[in-house]
Amino acid sequence: MHLVLEVDTEKAVESTIERISQEMRSFLKNEHIRHVGLNRINGSRISVELQGQENIDKFQKLLDKEFKDLRILSRSTHNEILTMILDLPDKESSQIKKLATEQALETIRNRIDQFGVSEPDIRQQGEKRILVQLPGIKDTKRAKDLIGRTALLEFKLVDETHDLNSALQGNVPPGSEVLYGIKEDPETRRVIKTPYLITKRTLLTGAQLTDAKVQIDSQYNEPYVSINFDKKGGRDFERITGANVKKRLAIVLDNKVYSAPVIQEKISGGQARITGRFTTEEARDLAIALRAGALPAPVNILEERTVGPSLGTDSIRKGLISMCVGGILVILFMIVYYRGSGLIADIALLLNIILIAGGLAGFQATLTLPGIAGIILTIGMAVDANVLIFERIREEMSIGKTPRAAVDAGFDRATLTILDANVTTLIAALVLFQFGTGPVKGFAVTLSLGVLSSLFTALILSRLIFDYFLVKRKSKSLSI
């Protein structure tokens, strides 16, 4: 399975701004700074409306003290109300975007590790794309769900001071939002959406989890996910539950409410459970996602290719057979046309292919169809190099030179030509590598490897073999 994912880095910036606006709201409340409006606008900007010089001064002080990182985009006064629009400076937001992609990469890698795929290939492509290749996946849907889910776990309080119904009709009080719990009734298989009015402020997130395990509830025989918080998380959890006894705490996953139990008493020990009528598989996948961590931003699937196993083996088999047949024909031809020297060329060719294969394995590059194209070109050019040399040698011998002198002259004359041709191809390959994406890059890699190895085998290796026969063994004639 081959996936290209794109990290929605814009959303990462947005959620940071959202978090900051929540913090700002609680600061304003604690410092008794009255404001007329505090909203997130245009995705990643905060708009604050203040009235009264005292409030404005206090707010300015607050900005300088706690929110130094924010950038003031504009201030305008209208009817005695000062409106300030704030956002993050470019350096900050590009840093967030960069981190978002890196984190997403790590998280996805963790998830796939735990899913248990042999030899996964996960790498970053450009600024915000991630390439994932998973060989041998049978259940592609499950893999995609696991990779793509944001898995942002948040604990928020249910807003019981305001009216749920009026919120549903559009009067959402500031600082709260309407979230839904989505459950599938196992008998009727109908999806039931239950609305909740939730206070926006996140009290605790999944970042503080140390572990998530699947357990079976002994009473109902249903699987649930048991989570453990770290020390700080545990203390926070204790504090939150202690301060909100008898209130409902909503467990929100990816903006969906999983459950909203009433807090009976202060809970210490940092343990909680997430229930929700899971199947064992769903529970297991949720535990994996929670353990590996939340994705900092949503990911979209840009490209997906699944090659069924039968086609995969078929293609490999057919490709290999045709290459072998072609290769054998070339080898035979060389021997027939150039006799003994042809054999030397064949040895060079075989070594060439081994070198390329080794290089590919060393670089951990996947062999794609474009890669095969590169190999074919290399074989063609390698044969070419040898042909160039042999033709020269034949020419020299027809003028009357001895075999040794002919070989020397042949190699000398041909080297320059071979170098020119191969360097030009190498330039092309390097440019392609630089600018190309994915498969084009693969082609460039195979081509570069091929050029270098054919230079080596044609110029150095064949020469060595010739020299061995002519100098060491002192052959008087040349089979060419």
């Binding site: 290719r305 293609s315 092309a428």
Partner: protein, 346 residues
């Protein structure tokens, strides 16, 4: 054993007008076909969309497949037979990038099994978002253009010692293209315009060897793409790889001939250029035909035994090798003569 006698002497150069005529007409036919079909028939790699390869256990008909697809909202897809008739394999293509939702392939499988009444095996599913396709097209074009420019510098330098001149020209072109691309000028037209400007610059700056090589390359690529367009074959990523291979191959051929021309220019400097070119082409003929022949053999094996995707790829390679060999002899070298008329008039 030798195919070509060492003292062969075919007068290639004298035939260059006929060759020019043939080449020009082939190129015009290719361009005409491309215009008629409104560009090459892009596969999903470039246009975005979804592709499904299915195999049936008994023969069936596209009509039955289409009716099955209609039941799952895929009535607008194209269905095409794939591979050998005995394989019973079909390719289903739609330009909707179905964000492969809940069990898409099993949905397709069930629908097809219901409408055709035989067992269905989903061999391959590919989905490419439209943005990725566009990105790929643009990047591929940029890569090829910049590669051409770098090659120009090297060739002009090695064969005519015009390193600086070609370097400056290439640098300026690269800068201009890059700048314009940042301003969201449509990439395909931009590259086309840049190519034309490049060729004009070659002519005026008298970068003869580079001109010969690049024109031969453009000739090869255009004709290959044209033939694909005429036969209505699909243009996918592997085909691009084939094109790149052909470029590399043709370039290799051309340089070998140029090298001999350069060597013979020194040896026979008293003789006219026509004679030198003829001699060089004749001398390298044996080698040219041999290399093309051996590579063609390998590609032929791929063509006949390789199966589905490799088949199309091998086909492109075959055209490319044949046309490439032809262009090295009849296009690249005679271009070197193009400046002669101008030279004498001075």
């Amino acid at each position: 054993m030798q195919f070509i006698k060492p003292d062969i002497n075919i007068n290639f150069v004298s035939k260059r007008n006929i060759a020019f005529f043939i080449s020009l007409s082939m190129i015009l036919v290719s361009i005409a076909s491309l215009l008629i079909h409104k560009g090459p028939r892009y596969g999903i790699d470039f246009a975005g969309g979804t592709l499904i390869q299915v195999k049936f256990s008994t023969p069936t008909s596209p009509a039955k497949i289409k009716s099955g697809l209609a039941t799952i909202d895929l009535a607008k897809s194209s269905v095409q037979q794939f591979g050998e008739a005995s394989d019973n394999e079909y390719l289903i293509r739609t330009n909707i990038s179905i964000m492969t939702s809940e069990g898409f392939s099993s949905k397709v499988q069930k629908a097809l099994e219901a409408s055709t009444g035989t067992e269905v095996e989903i061999r391959r599913v590919e989905m490419v978002g439209p943005q990725v396709g566009k990105d790929l097209r643009e990047k591929a074009l940029f890569a090829m253009f910049f590669a051409l420019l770098f090659i120009t510098i090297y060739i002009s330098g090695r064969f005519e010692l015009k390193w600086v001149l070609s370097g400056v020209m290439a640098g300026a072109l690269m800068g201009a293209v890059y700048l314009l691309s940042v301003f969201h000028v449509s990439v395909p037209y931009l590259i086309l315009a840049a190519l034309i400007v490049t060729l004009l610059l070659f002519w005026f700056l008298e970068l003869k060897y580079a001109m010969g090589a690049i024109v031969a390359l453009i000739h090869d690529v255009t004709i290959t793409v044209g033939i694909f367009s005429i036969l209505d074959k699909e243009f996918t990523l592997p085909i691009i790889a084939a094109l790149l291979t052909i470029i590399g191959y043709s370039l290799n051929d051309t340089i070998i001939v140029f090298d001999r021309i350069r060597e013979n220019s020194r040896k026979y400097h008293k003789n006219p250029l026509e004679f030198i070119i003829n001699r060089s082409v004749n001398e390298t003929l044996s080698r040219t035909l041999l290399t093309s022949g051996t590579t063609l053999v390998v590609v032929l094996a791929l063509f006949m035994l390789g199966g589905g995707i490799i088949h199309d790829f091998a086909f492109a390679m075959m055209i490319g090798i044949i046309v490439g060999t032809y262009s090295s002899i009849y296009v690249a070298s005679p271009i070197l003569l193009a400046w002669q008329g101008r030279g004498r008039k001075k």
